[in-house]
């Protein structure tokens, strides 16, 4: 019961203090809100980039090995089985010349070319899905050593593209983490300073609380809640703006760059909302915790 009363007192005081120093509180909310907006926008952009990369990764993590027309079928099966035993290979599929021709013919852009062709000029293929993007190179090297592979164009491996994509993803991840760290520190410092100002505004009350025998955490409680409140409101504000902007952004992107596989992802929006609000609470709590430990002592 006493804990409940303490909790109510802390919440009431935090709320009162938040509005009593509305100028400072709103400045903190806007600053942290802006930071969270930046962080949220980076996460959304990161996710969008991830979606695009995933789509490309899906494409390039399947290596297509062209089979020379004179390769006997048992040799193809042997090589297919050899590939299947490798730990870096997830699946291997044999595509016959007929199947490949049908696939070629199904693309309307190839119709004109198809009319001029005689027989079946497309090669049979082995489509190899690798476990990780980094494995494509090794499988490609193996395929090029295989005698049954087409001499002129053995695989569709695009080494530079894969390497560049891996490098881009590493940079995006590192940059995102670095920016997140800077933004986290900035938010914590802002909350700390807000708490410092609040402590200064309420120094008389704190003095009286100490003198009448309030515990240290009783005095600190309202400031902790105030920090959490600041973080939460800032996160809510940032989330609202992001939610309002995300769908139109994807729509604009889709119509302008239709070939880039970017879609509205409601599941990610839910995750982003949860994470932003949790981050707001955590940043507020950490900032105010450090603040009260420094500025409120019995």
């Amino acid at each position: 019961m006493r804990i409940w009363r303490h909790l109510l007192f802390a919440l009431g005081s935090a709320w009162q203090n938040f509005w009593r120093n509305a100028g400072v509180s709103m400045a903190a909310v806007l600053s942290i809100g802006l930071i969270m907006l930046l962080a949220g926008a980076s996460l959304l952009l990161g996710h969008a980039l991830g979606q695009v990369l995933d789509a490309y990764r899906e494409r390039v993590s399947v290596l297509s090995i062209s089979i020379a027309d004179d390769t006997p079928l048992p040799a193809v099966y042997d090589f297919r089985d050899q590939l299947r035993t490798r730990p870096d290979v997830v699946a291997v599929r044999f595509v016959t010349k007929e199947e490949e021709l049908r696939r070629f013919a199904s693309d309307p852009r190839n119709q004109q070319l198809l009319e001029q062709l005689q027989g079946n000029p497309v090669p049979a293929r082995l489509e190899v899905r690798v476990a990780r993007l980094g494995d494509v190179g090794r499988v490609d090297a193996l395929a090029r050593q295989w005698r049954g592979a087409d001499r002129t164009d053995p695989t569709d491996y695009q080494g530079d593209f894969v390497t560049n994509m891996q490098r881009l993803q590493a940079w995006v991840t590192a940059g995102g983490l670095g920016m997140l760290a800077v933004l986290t520190v900035a938010s914590v410092v802002i909350v700390m300073n807000t708490i410092r100002t609040a402590v200064h505004h309420r120094r008389q009350e704190i003095e009286v609380m100490k003198l009448v025998g309030a515990t240290e955490w009783f005095v600190r409680g309202p400031f902790l809640f105030e920090g959490v409140m600041t973080g939460l409101i800032a996160a809510g504000l940032a989330l609202g703006i992001l939610l309002a902007a995300y769908r139109p952004f994807v729509g604009t992107f889709q119509s302008a760059l239709f070939f880039v596989p970017l879609t509205y992802d409601p599941r990610f929006v839910a995750v982003l909302g949860r994470d932003l609000l949790a981050a707001g609470v955590a940043l507020g709590a950490v900032g105010s915790y450090i603040g009260v430990r420094r500025f409120v002592r019995l």
């Binding site: 019961m1 006493r2 804990i3 009363r5 303490h6 007192f9 008389q204 009350e205 003095e207 009286v208 609380m209 100490k210 003198l211 009448v212 025998g213 309030a214 515990t215 240290e216 009783f218 019995l298």
Partner: protein, 247 residues
Amino acid sequence: MVIAPESDTDPVISFQHVWKTYANGTDALHDVCLAVPDGDFVFLVGPSGAGKSSVVRLLIREERPTRGRLLVHGADVGTLRRRALPRFRRSIGLVFQDFRLLPGMTVHENVAFALRVLGQSRRTVERRARDALDTVGLAGMDRSYPCELSGGEQQRVAIARALVHRPRLIVADEPTGNLDPATAWEIVQLLLRINGEGATVVMATHNRDIVDLVRRRVVALDRGRVVRDDQAGRYHADLAPLAVRAR
């Protein structure tokens, strides 16, 4: 932590060769030895810088002794842990020259605040705040704000707040310093009445007239030393030797 005296004969306050030197090198107290028994009323007198405020700060553990031992209600103030501080401070009622009331709260809220911070139930808070205001004679003014009260009334509110925990020890630091003589006398009468009901009172003061009129125990400090400790003493008595020594 022991909050009550270990026996009836144990003093409520016991300074045992206490020294206090501040971080800036100022020597505030030199080898102070002083025992205040339960129910005593003590005036701490002396010129500015004599060490009265240091004594008060040590009593409420705003400061620790540099050397020596200070026991309050049997608790060693020098070794008191931070966690034990709140309970320790609740055993002492504090009254200051500048009242230290919260201007945004009514009289009742100011007094009740001291109990609310302890998480007391609303019923207990209401009853005890009312009792404390009754004791200081401000029963009808509970809805007023401090700025609407006279200095004397504000000090009564501060005393009510000090009493609301029902402490056995009241420490008053210049409680009449901001008051006119008549109001100051009323406040001292109130403290005497509280003392009459069993509480120990230590009052630091510059008010010569009151000390001479009340004739209670007087502990005189000068440059951090106890230079006189008289039962039923006077303020004047210590000034003559001090003046001679100063020359």
